[in-house]
Symmetry: D2
Subunit: 138 residues, 4 copies
Amino acid sequence: MAFTAVRPLRFGDCDPSGIAYFPSYLNLLVGVMEEFFASIGSPWPVMMGERRISVPTVRLDITFSHPGVHGDVLEFRVDVKRVGGSSLDFLHRITCGGTLLWSAEQRVVATDTDTHRARPWPDDMRAALEQHLETSNV
Amino acid sequence: MAFTAVRPLRFGDCDPSGIAYFPSYLNLLVGVMEEFFASIGSPWPVMMGERRISVPTVRLDITFSHPGVHGDVLEFRVDVKRVGGSSLDFLHRITCGGTLLWSAEQRVVATDTDTHRARPWPDDMRAALEQHLETSNV
Amino acid sequence: MAFTAVRPLRFGDCDPSGIAYFPSYLNLLVGVMEEFFASIGSPWPVMMGERRISVPTVRLDITFSHPGVHGDVLEFRVDVKRVGGSSLDFLHRITCGGTLLWSAEQRVVATDTDTHRARPWPDDMRAALEQHLETSNV
Amino acid sequence: MAFTAVRPLRFGDCDPSGIAYFPSYLNLLVGVMEEFFASIGSPWPVMMGERRISVPTVRLDITFSHPGVHGDVLEFRVDVKRVGGSSLDFLHRITCGGTLLWSAEQRVVATDTDTHRARPWPDDMRAALEQHLETSNV
Protein backbone atom coordinates (compact mmCIF):
# COMPACT_ATOMS: atom_id res chain seq x y z
CA MET A 1 0.00 0.00 0.00
CA ALA A 2 1.11 3.55 -0.64
CA PHE A 3 2.05 5.60 2.37
CA THR A 4 -0.54 8.21 3.34
CA ALA A 5 -0.68 10.97 5.92
CA VAL A 6 -3.36 13.48 6.82
CA ARG A 7 -2.67 17.14 7.64
CA PRO A 8 -5.17 19.91 8.34
CA LEU A 9 -4.40 23.11 6.43
CA ARG A 10 -3.80 25.52 9.29
CA PHE A 11 -4.30 29.28 9.58
CA GLY A 12 -0.52 29.71 9.69
CA ASP A 13 -0.11 27.88 6.37
CA CYS A 14 -2.35 30.32 4.48
CA ASP A 15 -1.65 33.71 2.95
CA PRO A 16 -3.46 37.06 2.82
CA SER A 17 -5.36 35.97 -0.30
CA GLY A 18 -6.89 33.20 1.85
CA ILE A 19 -5.27 30.18 0.21
CA ALA A 20 -2.33 27.93 1.01
CA TYR A 21 1.08 29.60 0.91
CA PHE A 22 3.08 27.18 -1.25
CA PRO A 23 6.33 27.24 0.77
CA SER A 24 4.19 26.07 3.73
CA TYR A 25 2.90 23.19 1.59
CA LEU A 26 6.52 22.13 1.09
CA ASN A 27 7.27 22.38 4.80
CA LEU A 28 4.32 20.01 5.33
CA LEU A 29 5.69 17.72 2.59
CA VAL A 30 9.07 17.44 4.31
CA GLY A 31 7.27 16.46 7.53
CA VAL A 32 5.35 13.77 5.60
CA MET A 33 8.62 12.46 4.10
CA GLU A 34 10.07 12.30 7.61
CA GLU A 35 7.05 10.21 8.64
CA PHE A 36 7.46 8.00 5.56
CA PHE A 37 11.09 7.21 6.41
CA ALA A 38 10.10 6.38 9.99
CA SER A 39 7.43 4.02 8.60
CA ILE A 40 10.08 2.01 6.73
CA GLY A 41 12.35 1.76 9.75
CA SER A 42 14.57 4.83 9.28
CA PRO A 43 13.51 7.61 11.65
CA TRP A 44 15.47 10.71 10.70
CA PRO A 45 16.97 11.51 14.12
CA VAL A 46 18.70 8.11 14.01
CA MET A 47 19.33 8.06 10.25
CA MET A 48 20.85 11.55 10.19
CA GLY A 49 22.18 11.82 13.73
CA GLU A 50 23.74 8.40 14.27
CA ARG A 51 24.11 6.86 10.82
CA ARG A 52 25.03 10.23 9.25
CA ILE A 53 22.80 9.68 6.21
CA SER A 54 20.88 12.66 4.83
CA VAL A 55 18.37 12.74 1.97
CA PRO A 56 18.49 16.18 0.34
CA THR A 57 16.20 16.91 -2.58
CA VAL A 58 17.84 17.37 -5.98
CA ARG A 59 14.75 17.65 -8.22
CA LEU A 60 11.24 18.76 -7.44
CA ASP A 61 8.60 19.27 -10.12
CA ILE A 62 5.34 20.55 -8.73
CA THR A 63 1.95 21.12 -10.32
CA PHE A 64 -0.58 23.13 -8.35
CA SER A 65 -4.01 22.16 -9.70
CA HIS A 66 -6.51 23.64 -7.28
CA PRO A 67 -6.09 26.13 -4.43
CA GLY A 68 -6.20 24.77 -0.88
CA VAL A 69 -8.13 26.85 1.64
CA HIS A 70 -7.85 27.24 5.41
CA GLY A 71 -9.54 24.28 7.08
CA ASP A 72 -9.03 21.82 4.22
CA VAL A 73 -8.07 18.34 5.35
CA LEU A 74 -5.15 17.35 3.15
CA GLU A 75 -4.38 13.74 2.35
CA PHE A 76 -0.79 13.19 1.25
CA ARG A 77 -0.16 10.02 -0.74
CA VAL A 78 3.50 9.05 -1.19
CA ASP A 79 4.54 6.54 -3.87
CA VAL A 80 8.07 5.31 -4.42
CA LYS A 81 8.63 5.20 -8.18
CA ARG A 82 12.26 4.11 -8.44
CA VAL A 83 15.18 3.19 -6.21
CA GLY A 84 18.58 4.05 -7.74
CA GLY A 85 22.10 3.46 -6.46
CA SER A 86 21.93 6.48 -4.21
CA SER A 87 18.78 8.17 -5.48
CA LEU A 88 15.09 7.74 -4.79
CA ASP A 89 12.13 8.99 -6.84
CA PHE A 90 8.81 9.83 -5.23
CA LEU A 91 5.44 10.77 -6.61
CA HIS A 92 3.36 12.79 -4.18
CA ARG A 93 -0.34 13.46 -4.62
CA ILE A 94 -2.16 15.79 -2.25
CA THR A 95 -5.94 15.66 -2.29
CA CYS A 96 -8.80 17.14 -0.29
CA GLY A 97 -12.10 15.27 -0.36
CA GLY A 98 -11.00 13.44 -3.50
CA THR A 99 -9.97 16.59 -5.38
CA LEU A 100 -6.31 16.77 -6.42
CA LEU A 101 -4.83 20.00 -5.06
CA TRP A 102 -1.22 19.47 -6.10
CA SER A 103 1.24 16.79 -7.06
CA ALA A 104 5.00 16.58 -7.11
CA GLU A 105 7.74 14.40 -8.53
CA GLN A 106 10.69 14.48 -6.20
CA ARG A 107 14.16 12.99 -6.37
CA VAL A 108 16.22 12.75 -3.22
CA VAL A 109 19.77 11.48 -2.94
CA ALA A 110 21.41 9.67 -0.05
CA THR A 111 24.36 11.72 1.15
CA ASP A 112 26.87 11.69 3.94
CA THR A 113 25.52 14.17 6.52
CA ASP A 114 29.03 15.53 7.16
CA THR A 115 30.42 15.88 3.63
CA HIS A 116 27.11 16.31 1.74
CA ARG A 117 28.46 13.88 -0.90
CA ALA A 118 26.31 11.16 -2.45
CA ARG A 119 26.68 7.66 -1.05
CA PRO A 120 24.97 4.32 -1.82
CA TRP A 121 21.88 3.31 0.14
CA PRO A 122 22.85 0.93 2.95
CA ASP A 123 21.45 -2.58 2.39
CA ASP A 124 18.71 -2.38 5.01
CA MET A 125 17.35 0.91 3.64
CA ARG A 126 17.53 -0.37 0.04
CA ALA A 127 15.64 -3.53 1.00
CA ALA A 128 12.94 -1.54 2.81
CA LEU A 129 12.56 0.91 -0.09
CA GLU A 130 12.38 -1.87 -2.67
CA GLN A 131 9.82 -3.75 -0.65
CA HIS A 132 7.74 -0.59 -0.43
CA LEU A 133 8.13 -0.10 -4.18
CA GLU A 134 6.87 -3.59 -4.98
CA THR A 135 3.95 -3.71 -2.59
CA SER A 136 2.67 -0.19 -3.12
CA ASN A 137 2.41 -0.25 -6.89
CA VAL A 138 0.34 -3.40 -7.30
CA MET B 1 18.64 43.80 -17.67
CA ALA B 2 17.44 40.82 -15.66
CA PHE B 3 16.10 41.55 -12.22
CA THR B 4 18.46 40.56 -9.40
CA ALA B 5 18.19 40.54 -5.62
CA VAL B 6 20.65 39.58 -2.91
CA ARG B 7 19.73 37.64 0.22
CA PRO B 8 22.00 36.33 2.98
CA LEU B 9 21.28 32.72 3.90
CA ARG B 10 20.28 33.09 7.53
CA PHE B 11 20.58 30.74 10.51
CA GLY B 12 16.79 30.34 10.49
CA ASP B 13 16.84 29.18 6.86
CA CYS B 14 19.15 26.24 7.58
CA ASP B 15 18.45 22.77 8.91
CA PRO B 16 20.13 20.45 11.44
CA SER B 17 22.39 19.03 8.72
CA GLY B 18 23.80 22.58 8.34
CA ILE B 19 22.51 23.38 4.86
CA ALA B 20 19.60 25.38 3.48
CA TYR B 21 16.13 24.00 4.25
CA PHE B 22 14.49 24.02 0.82
CA PRO B 23 11.05 25.28 1.90
CA SER B 24 12.91 28.33 3.30
CA TYR B 25 14.54 28.84 -0.10
CA LEU B 26 11.05 29.02 -1.59
CA ASN B 27 9.91 31.51 1.03
CA LEU B 28 12.89 33.66 -0.01
CA LEU B 29 11.93 33.19 -3.67
CA VAL B 30 8.39 34.48 -3.06
CA GLY B 31 9.89 37.56 -1.38
CA VAL B 32 12.12 38.11 -4.43
CA MET B 33 9.09 37.77 -6.74
CA GLU B 34 7.29 40.36 -4.63
CA GLU B 35 10.27 42.68 -5.11
CA PHE B 36 10.29 41.96 -8.86
CA PHE B 37 6.62 42.95 -9.24
CA ALA B 38 7.26 46.16 -7.27
CA SER B 39 10.16 46.91 -9.66
CA ILE B 40 7.82 46.82 -12.68
CA GLY B 41 5.26 49.08 -11.03
CA SER B 42 2.98 46.51 -9.35
CA PRO B 43 3.65 46.36 -5.62
CA TRP B 44 1.64 43.44 -4.23
CA PRO B 45 -0.22 45.30 -1.48
CA VAL B 46 -1.78 47.49 -4.20
CA MET B 47 -2.03 44.76 -6.87
CA MET B 48 -3.67 42.25 -4.55
CA GLY B 49 -5.37 44.57 -2.07
CA GLU B 50 -6.83 47.24 -4.33
CA ARG B 51 -6.78 45.80 -7.85
CA ARG B 52 -7.67 42.30 -6.59
CA ILE B 53 -5.10 40.57 -8.82
CA SER B 54 -3.18 37.61 -7.40
CA VAL B 55 -0.40 35.60 -9.03
CA PRO B 56 -0.50 32.04 -7.67
CA THR B 57 2.05 29.53 -8.88
CA VAL B 58 0.75 26.68 -11.04
CA ARG B 59 4.03 25.02 -12.05
CA LEU B 60 7.39 24.97 -10.34
CA ASP B 61 10.27 22.80 -11.53
CA ILE B 62 13.32 23.07 -9.32
CA THR B 63 16.84 21.67 -9.63
CA PHE B 64 19.05 21.83 -6.57
CA SER B 65 22.64 21.67 -7.83
CA HIS B 66 24.79 22.52 -4.85
CA PRO B 67 23.98 22.85 -1.14
CA GLY B 68 23.77 26.36 0.31
CA VAL B 69 25.33 26.84 3.72
CA HIS B 70 24.66 29.28 6.54
CA GLY B 71 26.26 32.62 5.72
CA ASP B 72 26.19 32.22 1.95
CA VAL B 73 25.26 35.39 0.10
CA LEU B 74 22.64 34.34 -2.42
CA GLU B 75 22.10 36.22 -5.68
CA PHE B 76 18.68 35.64 -7.19
CA ARG B 77 18.41 36.35 -10.91
CA VAL B 78 14.87 36.53 -12.30
CA ASP B 79 14.23 36.27 -16.03
CA VAL B 80 10.84 36.56 -17.68
CA LYS B 81 10.68 33.90 -20.40
CA ARG B 82 7.13 34.27 -21.74
CA VAL B 83 4.06 36.40 -21.17
CA GLY B 84 0.80 34.55 -21.96
CA GLY B 85 -2.80 35.73 -21.88
CA SER B 86 -3.00 35.28 -18.14
CA SER B 87 0.18 33.34 -17.45
CA LEU B 88 3.80 34.30 -16.91
CA ASP B 89 6.89 32.09 -17.10
CA PHE B 90 9.97 32.82 -15.04
CA LEU B 91 13.43 31.33 -14.95
CA HIS B 92 15.17 31.78 -11.62
CA ARG B 93 18.87 31.18 -11.05
CA ILE B 94 20.30 31.37 -7.56
CA THR B 95 24.07 31.60 -7.28
CA CYS B 96 26.63 32.17 -4.56
CA GLY B 97 30.01 33.56 -5.59
CA GLY B 98 29.34 32.50 -9.18
CA THR B 99 28.35 28.90 -8.30
CA LEU B 100 24.83 27.87 -9.26
CA LEU B 101 23.06 26.56 -6.14
CA TRP B 102 19.61 26.00 -7.60
CA SER B 103 17.38 27.05 -10.46
CA ALA B 104 13.66 26.99 -11.05
CA GLU B 105 11.19 27.34 -13.88
CA GLN B 106 8.01 28.84 -12.54
CA ARG B 107 4.64 29.58 -14.09
CA VAL B 108 2.28 31.94 -12.33
CA VAL B 109 -1.23 32.84 -13.45
CA ALA B 110 -3.08 36.12 -12.94
CA THR B 111 -6.22 35.43 -10.95
CA ASP B 112 -9.02 37.36 -9.35
CA THR B 113 -8.04 37.58 -5.64
CA ASP B 114 -11.66 36.95 -4.58
CA THR B 115 -12.70 34.10 -6.88
CA HIS B 116 -9.22 32.58 -7.51
CA ARG B 117 -10.17 32.28 -11.22
CA ALA B 118 -7.75 33.12 -14.02
CA ARG B 119 -8.12 36.54 -15.62
CA PRO B 120 -6.19 38.35 -18.40
CA TRP B 121 -3.28 40.61 -17.47
CA PRO B 122 -4.42 44.24 -17.37
CA ASP B 123 -2.83 46.31 -20.15
CA ASP B 124 -0.38 48.18 -17.93
CA MET B 125 0.97 44.99 -16.35
CA ARG B 126 1.22 43.27 -19.74
CA ALA B 127 3.14 46.22 -21.17
CA ALA B 128 5.55 46.28 -18.22
CA LEU B 129 6.12 42.52 -18.38
CA GLU B 130 6.70 42.57 -22.14
CA GLN B 131 9.11 45.46 -21.85
CA HIS B 132 11.01 43.52 -19.21
CA LEU B 133 11.00 40.45 -21.45
CA GLU B 134 12.50 42.34 -24.38
CA THR B 135 15.15 44.27 -22.54
CA SER B 136 16.33 41.52 -20.21
CA ASN B 137 17.00 38.86 -22.82
CA VAL B 138 19.23 40.84 -25.12
CA MET C 1 -9.56 18.68 31.91
CA ALA C 2 -6.93 20.86 30.32
CA PHE C 3 -6.63 20.69 26.54
CA THR C 4 -3.60 18.76 25.31
CA ALA C 5 -2.08 18.11 21.90
CA VAL C 6 0.93 16.10 20.80
CA ARG C 7 3.39 17.22 18.12
CA PRO C 8 6.61 15.56 16.99
CA LEU C 9 9.51 17.98 16.72
CA ARG C 10 10.34 17.72 13.04
CA PHE C 11 13.58 18.15 11.12
CA GLY C 12 12.18 21.34 9.58
CA ASP C 13 11.55 22.83 13.05
CA CYS C 14 15.20 22.52 14.08
CA ASP C 15 18.20 24.76 13.45
CA PRO C 16 21.85 24.21 12.49
CA SER C 17 22.81 23.89 16.17
CA GLY C 18 20.52 20.82 16.28
CA ILE C 19 17.81 22.17 18.57
CA ALA C 20 14.34 23.61 18.06
CA TYR C 21 14.20 26.96 16.22
CA PHE C 22 11.98 29.01 18.52
CA PRO C 23 9.90 30.75 15.79
CA SER C 24 8.94 27.22 14.68
CA TYR C 25 7.83 26.44 18.24
CA LEU C 26 5.48 29.41 17.99
CA ASN C 27 4.13 28.26 14.64
CA LEU C 28 3.34 24.93 16.32
CA LEU C 29 1.70 26.80 19.22
CA VAL C 30 -0.62 28.70 16.87
CA GLY C 31 -1.66 25.35 15.34
CA VAL C 32 -2.39 24.00 18.83
CA MET C 33 -4.48 27.09 19.63
CA GLU C 34 -6.41 26.54 16.40
CA GLU C 35 -7.10 22.98 17.57
CA PHE C 36 -8.12 24.25 21.03
CA PHE C 37 -10.70 26.63 19.56
CA ALA C 38 -12.11 23.83 17.38
CA SER C 39 -12.41 21.67 20.52
CA ILE C 40 -14.68 24.27 22.18
CA GLY C 41 -16.89 24.59 19.11
CA SER C 42 -15.20 27.48 17.27
CA PRO C 43 -13.17 26.17 14.34
CA TRP C 44 -11.19 29.11 12.96
CA PRO C 45 -12.30 28.87 9.31
CA VAL C 46 -15.89 29.47 10.51
CA MET C 47 -15.01 31.82 13.37
CA MET C 48 -12.78 34.03 11.22
CA GLY C 49 -14.31 33.47 7.79
CA GLU C 50 -18.03 33.61 8.52
CA ARG C 51 -18.39 35.20 11.95
CA ARG C 52 -15.48 37.63 11.30
CA ILE C 53 -13.93 37.11 14.73
CA SER C 54 -10.14 36.98 14.99
CA VAL C 55 -8.01 36.33 18.07
CA PRO C 56 -4.67 38.14 17.66
CA THR C 57 -2.07 37.87 20.40
CA VAL C 58 -1.35 41.03 22.39
CA ARG C 59 0.98 39.65 25.08
CA LEU C 60 3.27 36.64 25.02
CA ASP C 61 5.76 35.90 27.81
CA ILE C 62 7.85 32.84 27.11
CA THR C 63 10.40 30.96 29.21
CA PHE C 64 12.58 28.42 27.43
CA SER C 65 13.78 25.99 30.11
CA HIS C 66 15.34 23.11 28.22
CA PRO C 67 16.30 22.70 24.56
CA GLY C 68 14.08 20.52 22.38
CA VAL C 69 15.87 18.22 19.95
CA HIS C 70 14.86 16.70 16.63
CA GLY C 71 12.61 13.71 17.29
CA ASP C 72 11.27 14.88 20.65
CA VAL C 73 7.58 14.20 21.11
CA LEU C 74 6.14 17.45 22.45
CA GLU C 75 3.03 17.53 24.61
CA PHE C 76 1.31 20.90 24.63
CA ARG C 77 -0.96 21.56 27.61
CA VAL C 78 -3.27 24.57 27.25
CA ASP C 79 -4.96 26.09 30.31
CA VAL C 80 -7.41 28.96 30.21
CA LYS C 81 -6.56 31.25 33.15
CA ARG C 82 -9.02 34.11 32.69
CA VAL C 83 -11.83 35.18 30.39
CA GLY C 84 -12.17 38.97 30.14
CA GLY C 85 -14.69 41.12 28.26
CA SER C 86 -12.83 40.67 25.00
CA SER C 87 -9.57 39.13 26.21
CA LEU C 88 -8.48 35.61 27.07
CA ASP C 89 -5.44 34.49 29.06
CA PHE C 90 -3.74 31.17 28.42
CA LEU C 91 -0.98 29.30 30.17
CA HIS C 92 0.88 26.90 27.88
CA ARG C 93 3.25 24.22 29.10
CA ILE C 94 5.23 22.17 26.63
CA THR C 95 6.86 19.02 27.94
CA CYS C 96 8.73 16.05 26.52
CA GLY C 97 8.71 12.84 28.54
CA GLY C 98 7.70 14.80 31.64
CA THR C 99 10.47 17.44 31.29
CA LEU C 100 9.28 21.02 30.86
CA LEU C 101 10.84 22.45 27.69
CA TRP C 102 9.11 25.81 27.62
CA SER C 103 6.08 27.62 28.93
CA ALA C 104 4.20 30.72 27.84
CA GLU C 105 1.62 33.10 29.18
CA GLN C 106 -0.42 34.44 26.31
CA ARG C 107 -3.18 37.02 26.06
CA VAL C 108 -5.34 37.09 22.95
CA VAL C 109 -8.10 39.59 22.21
CA ALA C 110 -11.28 39.02 20.22
CA THR C 111 -11.31 41.44 17.31
CA ASP C 112 -13.39 42.15 14.25
CA THR C 113 -11.54 40.40 11.38
CA ASP C 114 -12.22 43.36 9.06
CA THR C 115 -11.43 46.35 11.29
CA HIS C 116 -8.94 44.62 13.68
CA ARG C 117 -10.74 46.41 16.58
CA ALA C 118 -11.50 44.66 19.89
CA ARG C 119 -15.03 43.38 20.33
CA PRO C 120 -16.78 41.45 23.17
CA TRP C 121 -16.85 37.67 23.06
CA PRO C 122 -20.16 36.44 21.64
CA ASP C 123 -22.28 34.65 24.27
CA ASP C 124 -21.69 31.13 22.94
CA MET C 125 -17.92 31.54 22.88
CA ARG C 126 -17.87 33.13 26.35
CA ALA C 127 -19.95 30.25 27.73
CA ALA C 128 -17.67 27.64 26.16
CA LEU C 129 -14.51 29.40 27.43
CA GLU C 130 -15.91 29.80 30.96
CA GLN C 131 -16.96 26.17 31.05
CA HIS C 132 -13.45 25.18 30.00
CA LEU C 133 -12.00 27.48 32.70
CA GLU C 134 -14.09 25.88 35.44
CA THR C 135 -13.63 22.26 34.52
CA SER C 136 -9.93 22.38 33.65
CA ASN C 137 -8.68 24.05 36.84
CA VAL C 138 -10.26 21.76 39.39
CA MET D 1 23.93 54.42 18.61
CA ALA D 2 21.40 51.64 18.83
CA PHE D 3 21.51 49.03 16.10
CA THR D 4 18.70 49.34 13.57
CA ALA D 5 17.59 47.25 10.59
CA VAL D 6 14.80 47.72 8.07
CA ARG D 7 12.59 44.89 6.81
CA PRO D 8 9.59 45.08 4.48
CA LEU D 9 6.62 43.08 5.75
CA ARG D 10 6.22 40.55 2.97
CA PHE D 11 3.17 38.72 1.62
CA GLY D 12 4.57 35.47 3.03
CA ASP D 13 4.77 36.98 6.54
CA CYS D 14 1.04 37.78 6.65
CA ASP D 15 -1.96 35.64 7.51
CA PRO D 16 -5.46 35.16 6.09
CA SER D 17 -6.79 38.01 8.26
CA GLY D 18 -4.40 40.30 6.36
CA ILE D 19 -2.00 41.15 9.18
CA ALA D 20 1.44 39.94 10.24
CA TYR D 21 1.62 36.31 11.41
CA PHE D 22 3.49 36.66 14.71
CA PRO D 23 5.77 33.59 14.32
CA SER D 24 6.99 35.27 11.11
CA TYR D 25 7.76 38.42 13.08
CA LEU D 26 10.00 36.30 15.31
CA ASN D 27 11.73 34.72 12.34
CA LEU D 28 12.49 38.27 11.15
CA LEU D 29 13.73 39.16 14.66
CA VAL D 30 16.20 36.26 14.67
CA GLY D 31 17.54 37.50 11.32
CA VAL D 32 17.96 40.98 12.78
CA MET D 33 19.80 39.53 15.80
CA GLU D 34 22.09 37.67 13.40
CA GLU D 35 22.81 41.01 11.69
CA PHE D 36 23.41 42.67 15.07
CA PHE D 37 26.03 40.08 16.06
CA ALA D 38 27.76 40.50 12.70
CA SER D 39 27.83 44.28 13.32
CA ILE D 40 29.79 43.80 16.57
CA GLY D 41 32.30 41.45 14.93
CA SER D 42 30.69 38.06 15.59
CA PRO D 43 29.04 36.74 12.43
CA TRP D 44 27.08 33.62 13.40
CA PRO D 45 28.59 31.20 10.86
CA VAL D 46 31.99 31.81 12.49
CA MET D 47 30.70 32.22 16.06
CA MET D 48 28.61 29.05 15.95
CA GLY D 49 30.52 27.03 13.37
CA GLU D 50 34.13 27.64 14.36
CA ARG D 51 34.05 29.04 17.89
CA ARG D 52 31.14 26.76 18.89
CA ILE D 53 29.25 29.52 20.70
CA SER D 54 25.46 29.62 20.38
CA VAL D 55 23.05 32.20 21.78
CA PRO D 56 19.71 30.51 22.47
CA THR D 57 16.86 32.56 23.87
CA VAL D 58 15.79 31.79 27.43
CA ARG D 59 13.24 34.57 28.02
CA LEU D 60 11.11 36.52 25.56
CA ASP D 61 8.38 38.91 26.67
CA ILE D 62 6.52 40.42 23.77
CA THR D 63 3.86 43.11 23.57
CA PHE D 64 1.99 43.48 20.29
CA SER D 65 0.63 47.04 20.23
CA HIS D 66 -0.60 47.59 16.70
CA PRO D 67 -1.15 45.17 13.81
CA GLY D 68 1.38 45.22 10.99
CA VAL D 69 -0.03 44.95 7.46
CA HIS D 70 1.40 43.63 4.21
CA GLY D 71 3.69 46.28 2.73
CA ASP D 72 4.60 47.96 5.99
CA VAL D 73 8.26 48.94 6.22
CA LEU D 74 9.40 47.74 9.63
CA GLU D 75 12.23 49.40 11.50
CA PHE D 76 13.81 47.15 14.12
CA ARG D 77 15.72 48.96 16.87
CA VAL D 78 17.92 46.74 19.04
CA ASP D 79 19.20 47.97 22.41
CA VAL D 80 21.53 46.02 24.68
CA LYS D 81 20.28 46.53 28.24
CA ARG D 82 22.62 44.36 30.28
CA VAL D 83 25.62 42.08 29.77
CA GLY D 84 25.82 39.29 32.37
CA GLY D 85 28.41 36.58 32.89
CA SER D 86 26.92 34.45 30.15
CA SER D 87 23.63 36.24 29.52
CA LEU D 88 22.61 39.23 27.44
CA ASP D 89 19.43 41.29 27.68
CA PHE D 90 17.97 43.04 24.67
CA LEU D 91 15.13 45.48 24.22
CA HIS D 92 13.64 45.38 20.74
CA ARG D 93 11.28 48.00 19.38
CA ILE D 94 9.66 47.55 16.00
CA THR D 95 8.04 50.59 14.44
CA CYS D 96 6.47 51.52 11.13
CA GLY D 97 6.42 55.22 10.21
CA GLY D 98 7.01 56.12 13.83
CA THR D 99 4.19 53.94 15.21
CA LEU D 100 5.24 51.21 17.63
CA LEU D 101 3.95 47.88 16.33
CA TRP D 102 5.54 45.58 18.91
CA SER D 103 8.33 45.42 21.42
CA ALA D 104 10.16 42.58 23.11
CA GLU D 105 12.48 42.03 26.02
CA GLN D 106 14.75 39.12 25.24
CA ARG D 107 17.40 37.29 27.22
CA VAL D 108 19.87 35.08 25.40
CA VAL D 109 22.58 32.95 26.98
CA ALA D 110 25.96 32.05 25.55
CA THR D 111 26.19 28.28 25.30
CA ASP D 112 28.54 25.67 23.96
CA THR D 113 27.08 24.71 20.54
CA ASP D 114 27.87 21.03 21.16
CA THR D 115 26.72 20.55 24.77
CA HIS D 116 24.09 23.34 24.89
CA ARG D 117 25.47 24.30 28.33
CA ALA D 118 25.96 27.91 29.41
CA ARG D 119 29.48 29.30 29.17
CA PRO D 120 31.00 32.75 29.88
CA TRP D 121 31.26 35.29 27.08
CA PRO D 122 34.76 35.27 25.60
CA ASP D 123 36.64 38.50 26.31
CA ASP D 124 36.37 39.93 22.79
CA MET D 125 32.60 39.43 22.65
CA ARG D 126 32.12 40.84 26.14
CA ALA D 127 34.17 43.92 25.23
CA ALA D 128 32.18 44.48 22.04
CA LEU D 129 28.84 44.03 23.83
CA GLU D 130 29.84 46.38 26.67
CA GLN D 131 31.03 49.00 24.25
CA HIS D 132 27.72 48.76 22.44
CA LEU D 133 25.90 49.04 25.77
CA GLU D 134 27.72 52.22 26.73
CA THR D 135 27.54 54.03 23.43
CA SER D 136 23.97 53.15 22.52
CA ASN D 137 22.31 54.25 25.76
CA VAL D 138 23.72 57.74 26.00
